[in-house]
Structures are given as C-alpha cells and as structure tokens.
C-alpha cells in the first residue's frame, strides 16, 4: 500500500455526486483531494464520482478496493434507536462552504429524500425543504 500524497497522485472524489444526474465525464471541476497515509480505510458510497490524479512519479501507486453491494433494501438495518435525536436533523442540514448558493438547498433536499429511503420515515424533513415542495394545493372536486 502507498500513501495518497501529492506527487504520487490520489483519488479525487466529487462531494455529493452520488446524488447527481450527469454523466461522470462531465465533471472536471469540483473534485476534492483524498490525502491519507498508507493503511487508511476510506468508506465511499459506490455512486460517488471520482477520478485518479496524475501520478508525477515513476512509482506505481497501489491500494486495495473492496466493493460491497447490498442485495436487500437498506431500511433501518442498523441500530436505529437514535433516529429522532436532534443531532440527526442537524447533521443532515449542514451547509458546506463549497456549495453554490442555490444548489445548497437542493443538496439538503436530496439528503432528506435519501434519509426517508433509509429510514422509511416519509415525514422526515429539514426546514420543511421537501414538505414545502410536495405539499402543493390541488383542485378539489366540488361537493
């Protein structure tokens, strides 16, 4: 195993890209640097887009990759006793400095959808971002 360091090149994930709709080759910008010493274990959603940074040395970079593929829906298949803790909502509502102003809200929106899929809780929301979109007025048939 090798260090993921600047001259040897590194994996470059694109944050939040597992929820994106575009094809990976469209992404040249927005990549981040995964820098870590040999022996580090990194967990990534398999849908996170990433590339390999150019290796500027003659040394071949090596790593192990283990891919886990769930075969059943991953709904509450973990210790779910703290699902309703305020820290969960706070974590899922976190903004990051690399978000565009408009897209930041969409990031939260898509996190809510992901959390609903993982927990089966269709009422979960952060700042009503999904509720305010889905709770639209509809025409009612006259009585």
């Amino acid at each position: 195993m090798d260090d993921f360091s600047p001259p040897l090149g590194r994996t470059r994930p694109v944050r939040s890209s597992h929820a994106n709709q575009q094809a990976p080759p469209d992404i040249g910008s927005g990549q981040t640097r995964l820098t870590c010493p040999a022996g580090t274990v990194v967990l990534l959603h398999h849908g996170i887009w990433h590339s390999g940074r150019r290796n500027d040395t003659a040394h071949r970079r090596s790593l192990y990759k283990l891919r886990l593929n769930p075969t059943v829906p991953q709904v509450r298949l973990w210790d779910a006793c703290d699902l309703h803790e305020p820290a969960v909502t706070a974590e899922l509502g976190t903004y990051f400095p690399w978000y565009e102003q408009a897209t930041a809200r969409l990031e939260i929106y898509n996190r809510v959808l992901l959390w609903r899929a993982l927990t089966g809780d269709e009422s979960f929301d952060v700042e009503y971002w999904v509720t305010r979109v889905s709770n639209r007025l509809t025409l009612r048939k006259p009585a």
Binding site: Q21, G28, R33, A102, V133
Partner: protein, 91 residues
C-alpha cells in the same frame, strides 16, 4: 504567445461571490498544475482574481433546469475562465 488559465467556480453568477472550486493550467510548460492540487483557493472571489491581473475570457451561460429536474443537483454552474498571456517562445 502562451496562456496561463485559471478556472474558478463561484457560489453564484456574481463575479464577486465566493470561490467554491478551482483549477489552474499552465500553457507555458514551466509548471504542470492540474485540478485538485491545493486545499485553498488561489483567490477568495472572482473579483480578487481580476484585481490580481487575470483577464476573464469566458463565463458559464445561465440555463434553467430541464422540466422535471428542478430539484436535482448537478455539477457547478458558475464557472469562470481567466487567462494571463505571456509573450515569447515556448521554453
């Protein structure tokens, strides 16, 4: 004539909004920077790059989302290309 190119992705279409992504390329061949080479942006805003002598030569066109995709996230939308042009032969 050789180009140094700086790509800045900004938080909005305003040129003085914050940098959220960046990369640099060197057409002179003296250095070999590429995307993902630094943890901190070279400038805090697009305007700061202008003030340091970079010339803006392209800005992203603003396009509304396709119908049905209004709530999808995508790649950075506000990408600005800057250049510094150097005279002289290739080294």
């Amino acid at each position: 004539m050789r180009q140094q190119v700086l790509v800045l992705c900004l938080a909005s279409s305003a040129l003085d909004s914050d940098v959220v992504g960046w990369s640099r390329y060197d057409g002179t061949g003296r250095t070999r920077p590429t995307t993902g080479d630094s943890d901190e942006p070279p400038y805090s805003t697009g305007l700061a790059a202008l003030q340091d002598g970079w010339r803006l030569f392209q800005a992203s066109q603003l396009l509304p989302p396709q119908s049905g995709h209004e709530y999808d996230v995508s790649f950075p939308k506000h990408e600005f290309f800057f250049e510094k042009v150097e005279e002289g032969p290739h080294p």
